[in-house]
């Protein structure tokens, strides 16, 4: 498994983690190049179905990251997201999907170093798990979600 490079889909909130990831870049922090960043306006934009869909579309791991609780640009979006996604995390584990395949984190715009740490930790964990086996079997129609 040493040569396995996982694909990790990261949904980042526009106001905190996306800026944090940008800061990590401009500050020259090194972190694994395995994440594919998707920018969303708020972590509460994440429909739990996106997470399963990402896994079915071939992602080996999913990361959702937003502002720290209490610091949401929209006042309460991340609180809403937390309720949904903490429950989702438990449900996925119950359904037999390893809890390391879906992670959530709070990274603010000033935490470039934390972003690098989070990505390193998530990537290492997914590397240990190996490739995700739950993928769409019949891809007969190219479609964007």
């Amino acid at each position: 498994m040493s040569s396995f490079e996982p694909k990790i889909v990261a949904f980042l909130c526009n106001w905190c983690t996306y800026a944090g990831a940008d800061l990590a870049g401009t500050s020259r922090y090194q972190y694994p190049p395995n994440v594919r960043v998707i920018r969303v306006m708020c972590s509460s934009r994440i429909n739990p179905a996106f997470i399963i869909n990402a896994l079915l579309e071939g992602a080996d791991g999913v990361l959702v990251s937003g502002c720290h609780p209490g610091e949401c640009h929209y006042t309460s979006g991340n609180y809403m997201a937390r309720r949904r996604l903490v429950l989702m995390h438990r449900m996925l584990e119950y359904l037999g999907i390893h809890p390391d395949r879906f992670r959530m984190s709070w990274v603010s715009a000033s935490e470039g170093a934390k972003w690098a740490e989070v990505v390193t930790e998530v990537t290492e964990a997914v590397k240990v798990l190996g490739p995700n086996v739950i993928k769409r079997e019949q891809v007969w129609m190219q479609q964007s979600l």
Binding site: P48, S76, Y79, Y94, G96, E137, W140
Partner: protein, 325 residues
Amino acid sequence: MDATKSLRAIAREVLGREDIACLIGYEKGSYGFRAQPCVLTEPDQADRLIFSPLCVHNLTNYLTLEQIGPLSKADIGKGKIAVVVKGCDSRAITVLCAENGIKRENLYVIGVHSPGVVDLKKIERRFPNAVEPAEVSLEGDSFTITCEGETASVPRSELVNAKCLRCKNNVPQGCDVVVEGPEHSMEDDFADIAALEAKPLEERAHMWQEQFSSCIRCYACRNSCPLCYCSECILDKLRPQFVRRSVDFPENLLFHSARAFHLAGRCIECGECERVCPQDIPLMVLNRKLARDVKELFGYEAGADPEQKALFVTFKPDDPNEGIL
């Protein structure tokens, strides 16, 4: 039998009123152990009504339909809908009203203290090939079953639906009129959920893979659910299309997790999804897992309080940060 008698008397009175458009209740089915839902509009039809342990359906599912039995949408608008509910069904009305799915003032709720309904799959296994309409009543701790001219007595615990063995409260809440009967309430200890959680991840993954692979995606679980009434459903949306049309494990996994998740904090555990499943997928094992987690994480219980807001439109700043980096 007494419940049937009082129910008929209530129905006769209710159907005679000007402000009632129809009454949704149960009537004798055409074969075997079937009772069937019926929609009555005239007082002289009241004697068709029955209430017995065969009345398994959750009739609140009809309340959100465009058309109820013979009544069109315009007819429904002319008056209130009277509906017969058991304890579990009444909680569906609480949730529906709380989330503005239906208006309470358009309903006339007739509650019945249900002593527990039978599990049709169990009873049909026990008495196979019953053709003539059979009768079942609960006397003491056993069901008295009259089937094909023979009478048998079977302990309640052997034929009763599993959901009734962990019934939170069989006293219907928020009713306009109640048919009294024995009361019981229990605490669900979620022992089976905890046992499944304690198993290794691979074993659980294997179990759900087997279960979801057998799903034929008939959508009966969604359609029979009184709380799945969105006019635009994620499960059959095409743009964007979340669940694709192939019926295989990956799509079914998305289908079932989306269905269960949309009921998180809303499912009142009437067990209709599991009852109608032609493949016997243990859907309640998933629904109850979410119900337990919602209670554990957020102290929230669906249908417990008519005033409480929906789970996912509220939050507490000190909600758990479980598993968040």
